[in-house]
């Protein structure tokens, strides 16, 4: 279970980082979401992984650590709020800047090349 769990977290982080580096707002938002899933799973695991253990005292022989669950709950709520905010911000960015690149300008190589060609042609 540990192997499966940790590779799951690792995969999510890898995908999240990859998507954030795409530098377009939609992939970035998706990447942030994945990263926050990974973080939530990771936080959850910080109280040790265990099977069939209640978080409440007296319901099983040994009990799961309740604190990470509380932390994850808080982190999920905050993550929701932040994701909602960044989605709205991305929409506004798309409207204000005319494109969805995080820098506000699309680094389009073919475009600059053709402009250079045109300028050279004029000269």
């Amino acid at each position: 279970m540990e192997l499966l769990y940790s590779s799951c977290v690792g995969l999510l982080v890898a995908c999240g980082v990859f998507l954030i580096l795409r530098a377009r707002t939609f992939p970035v938002v998706l990447g942030l979401t994945m990263l926050s899933y990974a973080v939530n799973l990771f936080l959850f695991a910080s109280g040790r992984l265990s099977m069939n253990q209640a978080a409440v005292l007296g319901y099983s022989e040994s009990y799961a650590d309740p604190l990470p669950q509380a932390l994850v709950l808080t982190a999920i709520v905050i993550g929701f709020a932040m994701t909602a905010f960044v989605v709205i911000l991305a929409i506004r960015g798309r409207a204000d800047l005319g494109n969805d690149h995080v820098n506000g300008v699309v680094p389009d190589k073919s475009k600059t090349n053709s402009r250079q060609v045109k300028e050279q042609g004029k000269a």
């Binding site: 942030l32 973080v39 939530n40 990771f42 936080l43 905050i78 932040m82 905010f85 204000d96």
Partner: protein, 503 residues
């Protein structure tokens, strides 16, 4: 009453913000302004009285819901955190006052957001729990995101987008660090963490080290330390100046958290992990000072210059944190108060200058003369002398103290030349900026007296600028308090005793 005093700097701004969203104030901007300034004043008075209380009665610990540490969340009001809380509340009051001249009309919820920001910052200073620190960070960040977008244009949206994304990644890293630390130490109460770090053995030591260094990444991002400082000049110079002035405290939250984590949890007593971040902090701080100074020299407009001055001050502060002696911490506390107030003042002055010069705005080039050369020029030169660290104002005392306190430390021989050359660079560029903006006029350019600063704005600027001479006139008590706060900061067992009781 006095036992609840500790929680009031967190509760009052929350009350203020919620109050301003309710019907009577929610509809009417005028009432909202009165409430905002009044509540800002009350928060400031309460914070200062908490400061006085802590000075007499020592560190106060407030267990929320009476769940005692290490199980519940505690607020810890020690001398340094109360000082910073008072500073924040005062800055909030000044910014609320300044914005009443018209800046708050550009969006719907300026005043509530401002108070939410104060809530987050005060909470981050007061909390004694690492996860709670994260929560307060998020509170202040979401308020800051919205404030950053307040009354903004295209440039603003771009800067905000980058700032938000960067901070969200930062928050993820923060949570991962907390997860690792909780997994190894089994607690998130800072005082309890400090006692557990001493007992770590085997592989847990490395895990805790990873967690601690990840925390360093987060705080470096919030505090704008070198490789992670690139967002700051852009963000601060595109935000509305009054917002930028308020943000002057936010980088200090990062620096304060570093002080807390690396002197308390990973401080002298931490066994194998003691001073683990010191080496990193030194070089990053020095590099930050260099980059900040280059940024100041290269700045094309006043606001960007001030933003880069903030970077320089962060570098200086982190170098002092890295020195990890009582004396350097005391100097850091003095310098922190001074630099926050003066950079906020400079942001506001740059705003007024920009408004009065019409098209050229606050670009450092010849243009229309300002309408109130005496007031603005006077305020600017006061603030400039302070920020450069020339005698006789507070910057000078801070600088001498900083240099004295780093004399003995391991990397002092690197710090002195770099810091002094950076100061020289700041001196050159600030004086050039000032003389260009105030003395070089193009053509017959008439001063536009319609844009005169509103009396409220003048009062706000004067409040910030006058802090510097006051810090010199009352240098005795102020430095005594800084020394006292630094001693308490390094008083490891004292704090543990306070927070964990007889444990």
């Amino acid at each position: 009453m006095s036992q609840h005093l500790t929680s009031l700097p967190v509760l009052l701004p929350m009350l203020a913000a919620v109050l301003m969203l309710m019907p009577p104030c929610g509809k009417n901007l005028k009432i909202r302004r009165y409430v905002s300034v009044l509540m800002g004043l009350i928060t400031t008075v309460v914070s200062v009285s908490l400061l006085a209380y802590v000075k007499v009665n020592g560190t106060q610990v407030y267990a929320i819901g009476d769940w005692s540490a290490p199980f519940g969340i505690v607020l810890v009001a020690d001398p340094i955190s109360t000082l910073l809380v008072s500073l924040t509340s005062f800055l909030g009051l000044v910014c609320a006052l300044y914005s009443c001249a018209g800046d708050d009309e550009q969006g719907s919820f300026f005043h509530p957001l401002l108070h939410f920001l104060i809530l987050g910052v005060n909470g981050a200073f007061l909390t004694g729990d690492a996860f709670n620190l994260f929560v307060f960070f998020e509170v202040l960040l979401i308020a800051s995101y919205s404030l950053l977008m307040h009354g903004g244009d295209k440039r603003n949206t771009r800067a905000a987008l980058q700032y938000v994304i960067l901070n969200l990644v930062g928050s993820s890293v923060f949570l991962i660090a907390l997860g690792i630390l909780y997994g190894t130490l089994g607690t998130l109460n800072m005082a309890d963490m400090a006692t557990r770090v001493m007992e770590l053995q085997g592989d847990d030591v490395y895990l805790a080290k990873i967690g601690g260094l990840l925390l360093l990444v987060v705080f470096a991002l919030k505090g704008a330390l070198l490789p992670l400082h690139l967002w700051l000049p852009n963000t601060y110079s595109t935000a509305m100046p009054v917002v930028a002035a308020l943000f002057a405290i936010m980088t200090k939250v990062g620096v304060y958290s570093m002080m807390r984590v690396y002197t308390l949890i990973f401080g002298e007593q931490a066994g194998e992990l003691s001073h683990m971040a010191q080496h990193w902090l030194w070089w990053l701080a020095l590099a930050t000072i260099v980059m900040g100074a280059i940024g100041v020299l290269a700045s094309q407009d006043l606001r960007k210059m001030v933003a880069n001055l903030v970077v320089v001050s962060v570098g200086t502060l982190v170098a002092l944190v890295a020195a990890q002696t009582v004396d350097s911490s005391a100097a850091a506390i003095y310098y922190l108060v001074h630099s926050t107030l003066v950079s906020a003042a400079l942001f506001l002055i740059a705003d007024l200058v920009g408004k009065q010069r019409g098209k050229v705005s606050d670009r450092i080039t010849a243009g229309r003369p300002v309408a109130q050369p005496l007031f603005l020029g006077g305020a600017f030169i006061f603030a400039a002398v302070t920020v450069i660290g020339m005698p006789p104002l507070s910057g000078f005392i801070g600088k001498v103290w900083i240099l004295e306190s780093t004399l003995e430390s391991a990397h002092g021989h690197w710090f002195w030349p770099i810091y002094l050359i950076a100061s020289l660079a700041v001196l050159v560029s600030v004086s050039k900026a000032g003389s260009t903006v105030f003395w070089h006029h193009t053509g017959k350019g008439e001063a536009n007296t319609e844009e005169n600063a509103h009396p409220v704005q003048m009062v706000a600027v004067l409040m910030l600028v006058s802090a510097s001479p006051l810090m010199v006139i009352f240098a005795g008590p102020v430095t005594d308090y800084a020394q006292f706060a630094a001693v308490e900061l390094h008083n490891f067992y004292g704090l543990i005793q306070h927070v964990l009781g007889g444990k």
